[in-house]
Amino acid sequence: MVRVRGVHKSYGALEVLKGVDLDVRTGEVAVVLGPSGSGKSTLLRSINHLEKVDRGYVSVGGELVGYRRAGTRLHELKEREILKQRTQIGFVFQSFNLFPHLTALENVAYAPVASQGRPRRDVLPLARSLLERVGVGDKADAYPRQLSGGQQQRVAIARALALQPRLVLFDEPTSALDPELVGEVLDVMRDLARSGTTMIVVSHEIGFAREVADTVVFMDDGRIVEQGPPSEVLGAPRHERTKAFLAKVL
């Protein structure tokens, strides 16, 4: 489903990604761990082309992200085409980024109408059922600022799902939450994983990784140090850096 090959990315002189290869199969959950500044978020953001990579490529569902191949050349896609590609890839932000002037229901229903041109009357029932599914069905008419952080993040997950994406990316979805609200968001994500949604999750929640992940990826200094099933990477890490990191967070 997702194929990342030889991805490099620099901000000025600072090289954030130094050649990353990653594969995630359909229905799989990959959890990316690593110290801050290791390039996890940049990698995630390059998968839906929020960041343009300098070298290497990303493909989702067999389709190159941000480029079109013609013979021996890669043509950069127009913004409109990139936006269309992004409707296949859900993205959940650390800081929720709900639209504050729209109600929870409108937040969820807006993108399918605006991006995919689906009729509003078809989208509204879908949006309601998604809010139900993430457990905030009774908050459909509330504005984001009237909701707790956990509720906001669950609405944001419903919003990402409304486009019926093939893949959902989570960028530290619980890092901005009060500790007692983390659980409700992880519950929703666990349900999603069980229902067979392909997910890539950047997170610090080791427990979640151990329980839900098919693959755990450990990144440090712009490279993937180690990847494999949680029992290997978390249970018996081979690299010193992984060991040191796990010793600190566990």
């Binding site: 839906n48 929020l50 913004e79 409109r80 936006l83 269309k84 590609q85 992004r86 409707t87 890839i89 993205f91 932000f93 800081s95 980024n97 709900l98 639209f99 504050p100 002037h101 729209l102 109600t103 807006y110 993108a111 605006a114 991006s115 995919q116 504005y143 984001p144 600022r145 009237q146 919003r159 990402a160 486009l163």
Partner: protein
């Protein structure tokens, strides 16, 4: 007696039965007295001095030529602000676009139109016919199909509205841009991640949020424009200020006619202030947990509160008199 008197008062906490004596504010009373006297003096001066000539004011306030002038002032304000903000929004979008050329054009426009006094710009527009006495339509630098005399194409009212609008656009552009800058960058990112088309990102996601910052400053600009229209008197357009001058040079009653103009400018800005309040309230949706009450709601709430308080007092005194027996 309706309330049954308790035969034996229940034992209660002693402090909670004591009467509360509100704190006294003697200096507040002194200040109130001084202000009241000054206010009375001012009103007295306005009423008793015959030079204000209130009967003449009353006569001209609803005079047909004055009303017509008020209408023109309103039209010029709406055109100036309306066109000004439309052009201003375009300039702001150019300024934040990725094209260096558009950025430069926008920057230059704002630089020129903010630097040159409005009165000077208006005179330029008024005298446009001297510069180009015919405006031709056709292929740029190529053949032209037809031409129109500048005076016919741009009559004085249009020239005035255009002058006001072009000047206003330079200021509006910066106001709109500041509104865009006030919106969190995460909003654009979220919209982009959801694949929302570019124009909708701007009009449906960013602009409604930017309006919260734009409206108060824009309100200032509109009020400024109401009074700013008085500058076009140099183009001999019969707006309020010009018309008042015309009347008082004819009948010599300067002060009352200046009062007439004052009255109408006050009315116009008052209406605009009320409109602004409700527009601001509309865009405050979702930004606060509860919207502030409208003045009408506030009056209603006060009335209910006063009534409830009176009711409580009545019940209390009944209870006390009952208890005393």
């Amino acid at each position: 007696m309706s309330a049954p008197a308790p035969t034996k008062p229940a034992p209660v906490d002693e402090i909670s039965t004591l009467r509360v004596v509100p704190a006294r504010h003697p200096w507040r009373w002194v200040a109130t007295a001084i202000v009241a006297v000054l206010l009375a003096m001012a009103i007295n001066a306005l009423i008793t001095n015959p030079a204000w000539d209130w009967p003449t004011v009353g006569e001209f306030v609803v005079n047909a030529s004055i009303l017509e002038a008020v209408r023109l002032t309103v039209v010029l304000t709406l055109l100036g602000v309306g066109l000004g903000f439309v052009l201003g929004t375009v300039l702001a979008l150019m300024r934040i676009s990725h094209s260096p050329l558009l950025q430069a054009v926008s920057w230059t426009y704002i630089w020129i139109f903010r630097s040159v006094p409005l009165i000077l710009q208006l005179l330029f527009w008024y005298n446009l016919a001297i510069l180009y006495n015919e405006i031709r339509f056709g292929v740029p630098f190529g053949p032209s199909f037809f031409g129109v005399g500048t005076m016919e194409l741009i009559p004085p009212v249009a020239a005035a509205a255009l002058g006001l609008a072009l000047h206003q656009a330079a200021y509006s552009a910066e106001i709109v841009r500041s509104g865009f800058l006030s919106v969190d960058s995460g909003q654009l990112e979220a919209a982009a991640a959801l694949g929302i088309p570019r124009t909708r990102q701007v009009w449906r996601i960013i602009l409604p949020q930017a309006m919260r910052t734009i409206i108060p400053t824009a309100g200032n600009e509109v009020v400024g424009m109401v009074k700013g229209t008085s500058v076009v008197y140099i183009m001999a357009l019969p707006e309020l200020f010009y018309q008042v001058q015309v009347v008082y040079t004819r009948n010599g009653r300067v002060i009352p006619l200046l009062l007439v103009a004052t009255f109408w400018y006050l009315v116009l800005t008052t209406v605009l202030t009320v409109v602004q309040y409700y527009v601001e309230r509309y865009y405050a949706r979702g930004s606060a947990r509860a919207l502030p009450p409208t003045p009408l709601q506030r009056v209603r709430r006060t009335v209910t509160e006063v009534r409830a308080r009176a009711q409580r007092r009545r019940e209390q005194s009944e209870l006390l008199s009952g208890g005393a027996r």
